[in-house]
Amino acid sequence: MVLKIEGLHLHYLTMRGVLKAVNGVSLEIDAGEALGLVGESGCGKTSMSLGITRLLPSNIAEHKGSIELEGRELMKLSKEEFRSDINWKKISMVFQGAMNSLNPVIRVGIQVAEPLVIHEKMSKQEAKERVLGIFDRVGLPLETYDRYAHELSGGMKQRVVIAMALVLNPPLLILDEPTSALDVSIQAQVMNLLKELKKERDMTMIFITHDIALSSDISDKMAVMYGGRIIEFGTSEQVINDPKHPYTQKLLASTPLLRSYNEPEFIPGAPPDLVTPPTGCNYHPRCHMVMDVCSRKDPPTVYPEVGQRVECWLYGDVNE
């Protein structure tokens, strides 16, 4: 097992009160697996990635839980230790819109080489050679090394950012909407690249997106997030072919299909206010299968099948 998260909480302090963005999340990922974290905006999926990589803003009310990476408890590390031992070396992140990750006034090749020079104490020449190797692998022409970010297309910038994430060979890669800013044909190219890299390097990935169809293009397991919690978890086959939670069912039903005919349904209402969430189950105000108990008590965690987990009263014992 590469990553084991237990009871992760990330709460922000806002003017209106404490916002529970990540409210008790647990998950496990094995080596070489891709976990798709799926949910609407505001469900806490980006906060999850920030909570793991400690890229936190200053208004944090609570950040607790256990994050074990290759057996090492990350939450016990100091900020300095995290920065020197974990960032880029053990966990790398690829964000949406590479513009946020690339320095506009430094040539991109040098930016990708930087972690090699700093963390692995390579000479500039050695580092450059390694970077050129990775550029070639991700499908970038070698002269990209000397370019500035603004000279590159969206697809090329995203490949540079992927190269940067891979340069120290980290066991875990977190990607947050890595293809949302790209044209669909370039998105398909980047997804193929990620599939190849995953296979070649036995990479473990967390792939965050609001698009469940895109998630199915790479994820072995899926975790559906809602209101700061994972409300359904299982293999991609389980989550897509046999979704248990009403929200997951609606999420799938709202996707317009290209290859067959469906009348997509929408989910009425809006995601919950995480400062004053609903009583009981967060989803109950929008749930098409809501029962009386759902508004009164938090739903239990149930395991309907091996490896499948859902938080819903439909599968629990209402007398608990």
């Binding site: 891709a34 609407e40 905006s41 297309s153 969206g154 697809g155 090329m156 044209d183 669909v184 044909s185 370039i186 998105q187 398909a188 190219q189 997804m191 193929n192 599939k195 190849e196 609001h210 698009d211 469940i212 169809a213 895109l214 998630s215 199915s216 293009d217 790479i218 994820s219 072995d220 293999t235 991609s236 086959e237 989550v239 897509i240 072919n241 609606k250 999420l251 799938l252 709202s254 996707t255 317009p256 299909l257 290209l258 290859r259 067959s260 997509p264 349904e265 929408f266 989910i267 009425p268 809006a270």
Partner: protein
């Protein structure tokens, strides 16, 4: 025939954004314009509203030639033809409340009676299912979600009872699960008001849901066009085929194989390839594709494509300008 566009290059620096497009939109029809960034779809959409002036060709709206009319003389057009933008965060004024935002176009177009204006505003907001209306009108944009803001822009576009609306990527910045509701509203509004809609998008799956016909653009040219279900089920042009292959449906087996991709990157519109603009990325490229540009002609009933793969059966001479 309701609305015809024939255009040559646009702009003096020849960025061939829209390069010889002929098309028309019928009454009460939704035509989807699909393509990736840089294909010219937004430019084409704006030109149909005369927000941009064509450099060549004709623009005919409800029988009137508006190609080169002065913007002053086109005030009437602004009532009859509207636009919905992509970004719900920048297309409505953050310093005005919803009532004021909706009222502005009515005041500009001289609806003098304040009560009448309020009545029109309330009706429009109800039609886009923003309720309770009297609470909504007092809110400021930052108090609404992206989806709600976008509904305000739909409602605002309808106020002056237009015949034609350009919807430029109206749901691209909205969460996937909220898109369907907005598109359903758009579809219902179209039926209710008999609107003609030009639906511009890079997302071909939403195009399938809202439109009757689909036109695919590539670097300033229209490469395929036809009934939406036919084009998606049996795409003729290799680019259309590649576009469709690039888009996943939710399917756990997707991860087990590589997706068929269109290699390379879209060329620059300033210096597009000679001959067929897609030839540099096309897996079916033939020698003629590098030299001559294929014309957009009818290949099957209700489906046109611009591709030499289908030209062996057709005589290669000037077809009268295809007016569909």
């Amino acid at each position: 025939m309701y609305y015809t566009v024939r255009q040559g290059f646009f702009k003096t620096v020849p960025v061939k954004a829209v390069d010889g497009i002929s098309m028309s939109i019928e009454p009460a029809e939704t035509l989807a314009l699909v393509g990736e960034s840089g294909c010219g779809k937004t430019s084409l959409g704006r030109t149909t509203l005369r927000l941009l002036e064509p450099v060549g060709g004709e623009l005919i709206f409800k029988g009137k030639d508006i190609t080169h009319d002065s913007l002053q003389s086109l005030k009437w057009l602004r009532k009859d033809a509207q636009i919905i933008f992509q970004d719900p965060y920048s297309s409505i004024n953050p310093f005005m409340n919803i009532h004021q935002i909706m009222e502005e176009p009515l005041i500009v177009h001289k609806i003098e009676d304040a009560d009448k204006r309020t009545e029109m505003i309330y009706r429009a907001l109800e039609e886009v299912r923003l309720s309770p209306v009297d609470e909504i009108v007092r809110k400021y944009p930052h108090m609404l979600s992206g989806g709600q803001r976008q509904r305000v822009t739909f409602a605002r576009a309808l106020l002056l009872e237009p015949t034609y609306i350009v919807a430029d990527e109206p749901v691209s910045m909205i969460d996937a699960s909220s898109r369907v509701e907005l598109l359903q509203i758009l579809r219902n509004l179209q039926k209710l008001h008999n609107l003609s809609i030009l639906y511009i998008t890079h997302d071909i799956s939403t195009a399938k849901y809202v439109s009757n016909r689909l036109a695919v653009m590539y670097v300033g040219k229209m490469v395929e066009r036809g009934d939406v279900l036919k084009v998606i089920d049996e795409p003729l042009h290799p680019y259309t085929q590649g576009l469709i292959a690039s888009v996943p449906d939710p399917d756990p087996s997707n991860r087990l194989s590589y997706r068929e991709v269109i290699p390379g990157e879209p060329p620059n519109a300033i210096n597009p390839p000679a001959g067929c603009r897609f030839h540099t990325r096309c897996s079916h490229v033939m020698p003629i594709c590098k030299e001559k540009e294929p014309k957009l002609i009818e290949i099957k009933q209700g489906q046109d494509a611009a591709c030499f793969l289908y030209h062996k059966e057709f005589v290669e001479e000037e077809q009268p300008g295809d007016k569909r």
